[in-house]
């Protein structure tokens, strides 16, 4: 797997990929980025927390216009995972982007999104219908 790299560091690759957040030890607020302190309570201690792969589509937009390097259309999505964490990603695996429906049940999946000059493969995550 050394020839693969996740698109972001909160995507954990391996046999069963998942997302991992920094969870505030005090108030349990979860963050995907590098933290200085908790935006909710100001706490400074964090634990690593595995995020559920199951999710519900709570909002989306079918994007037809983007920067030239971005392939369109795609379904930008805000999902709520089974453990109540909001995640931004794409809905993938739809025949037609307009098949996206608010409230649809989804599951995390990964796919290759590019290879660099050293032959390293980038792995992105998305959510597909259950």
């Amino acid at each position: 797997m050394s020839d693969q790299v996740p698109i972001v560091d909160y995507l954990v690759l391996g046999g069963s990929p998942y997302l991992e957040a920094n969870e505030c030890s005090n108030c349990s607020a979860r963050f995907f980025d590098r933290r200085n302190a908790c935006a909710s309570c100001g706490g400074v201690d964090f634990d690593r927390k595995r995020i559920s792969n199951e999710a519900v589509l709570t909002s989306f937009s079918v994007v037809h216009r983007a920067a030239p390097s971005v392939p369109v259309p795609f379904v930008s999505a805000i999902v709520k995972t089974g453990d109540g964490t909001s995640v931004r990603s794409n809905v993938v695996g739809l025949e037609d982007p307009m098949d996206a429906e608010l409230g649809m049940e989804l599951i995390l999946t990964t796919y290759s999104c590019g290879t660099d000059d050293d032959g390293k493969e980038c792995i992105a995550f998305g959510y597909e219908p259950v």
Partner: protein, 399 residues
């Protein structure tokens, strides 16, 4: 007229457009000179100047304006606060007067954007070697892979979240917002566009980020606006005609976005607007039912719809019914964005928060011409900038 209120005595805005033969300093200077002329005062009466611009925030805009209209040596505050920049400039002058450091001051908002297109979402240059960098350890630009970073998409998602949580909201309701604002703009000679479109045309226009079509998105453009503020004590020393035309700032509120769970993946434009609205209503003693007109931040049709609810203009969850009922049309019970709104009047970012105060003040003075809301006595101006910042001003006609 008693107490320590702050009043607007002069207001002006340039037509929003694309100016190839004038720069931002020209536009800001013109709006400033016209606002001071409107108040029958001069640059020598100003104790403070605040200048708002987003894309030229590091260029000493206020001092560059002074060098065109009068270098009097007074304090200048150059402010930048995303789409709430203009409201922040007004509030800066407001606070200077409240603090007793100034009796009179001018707040200016300006932007020159031209055809800037999408304001974000441009990916960083594709790397040849994938190495993690930044706060998320990203090895490449994630726009398009992990959702959208473009404004039409982000605000589409804000609207769709509302549709998920409430009944009676869909593509047609969002489209009707844009239909209304384009229709309103036909009466406003200061609007960037003054063209009416049918519902079919709005819904059939090129999809940018569903449900936002091109006609449901604000344009980029150029423009400036300025207002002159005075203390109540100073106002009493001014001519009777100035006092009659003065507009009271009954509330001036600025909020930022408090923590919410989903905020790290989707900007929360609701909570800070709700907080600002409740503060503004409490400070002013005015309720949403008292408002004769509202200018709110319709950067996209999806945004306007959810702000009906955030500002308390409709029943909780009832924004879809509200637009379907016709209430926010100019002949309805709660006219919203009679200027044409950002969707059609335009959105030169730094100017917007001053321009919507200009719009409300002009109606309260009874000077809005063809688009006048007759008998308007109380109005609200709202802007929100992603990041996030929300500015609300409640204005009242002099009694």
């Amino acid at each position: 007229m008693s107490g320590d209120s702050i009043w607007i005595i002069g207001a002006s805005m340039t037509k929003f457009a694309r100016y190839e033969d004038q720069d931002a300093v020209d536009l800001a200077s013109r709006a400033s000179l016209e606002a001071m002329a409107d108040a029958d005062v001069s640059i020598h009466d100003m104790d403070v100047l605040a200048a708002g611009t987003l894309f030229q925030a590091s260029t000493s805009m206020g001092q560059r304006i002074q060098k065109q209209i009068g270098q009097t040596g007074v304090p200048v505050y150059n402010v930048s606060n995303a789409c709430a920049t203009g409201a922040t400039a007004i509030r800066t002058v407001y606070l200077s007067i409240k603090a007793g450091e100034a009796e009179m001051g001018i707040a200016i908002g300006v932007e020159q954007m031209g055809k800037m297109g999408l304001l974000s979402g441009a990916t960083k240059a594709e790397r040849n070697v994938y190495e993690p960098s930044g706060r998320y350890g990203a090895v490449m630009g994630v726009d398009g892979f992990l959702g959208t970073e473009t404004m039409p998409g982000v605000f589409a998602q804000a609207g769709m979240q509302y549709a998920y949580e409430n009944d009676g909201v869909g593509f047609e309701q969002f489209a009707r917002v844009a239909y209304k604002n384009h229709k309103h703009s036909t009466l406003n000679p200061l609007a960037q566009y003054q063209k009416e479109f049918s519902m079919e045309e709005v819904m059939g226009a090129a999809v940018q980020s569903y449900p936002n079509t091109l006609l449901m998105c604000c344009p980029t453009g150029d423009g400036a606006a300025a207002v002159v503020l005075v203390s109540e004590e100073k106002l009493r020393s001014l001519p009777t005609e100035t006092q009659k035309r003065a507009v009271k700032i009954s509330a001036s509120v600025l909020t930022s976005d408090p923590y919410v769970e989903s905020g790290q993946v989707q900007p929360d434009v609701n909570t800070l607007t709700r907080n600002a609205a409740s503060q503004a209503y409490e400070i002013s003693g005015v309720g949403p039912e008292d408002l004769d007109l509202v200018e709110l931040h319709d950067c996209f049709a999806t945004a306007e719809l959810i702000h009906y609810d955030n500002l308390g203009l409709c029943e909780p969850g009832g924004a879809g019914d509200f637009i379907d009922s016709g209430k926010p049309f100019r002949d309805g019970s709660m006219p919203v964005n009679v200027s044409g709104g950002l969707i059609s009047k335009g959105h030169p970012i730094g100017a917007t928060g001053v321009a919507n105060v200009f719009e409300v003040a002009t109606h309260l003075r009874g000077e809005a011409g063809d688009r006048q809301i007759e008998g308007a006595k109380v109005g609200l101006a709202h802007v929100i900038g992603l990041g996030s910042s929300c500015g609300i001003h409640i204005l009242e006609k002099a009694s």
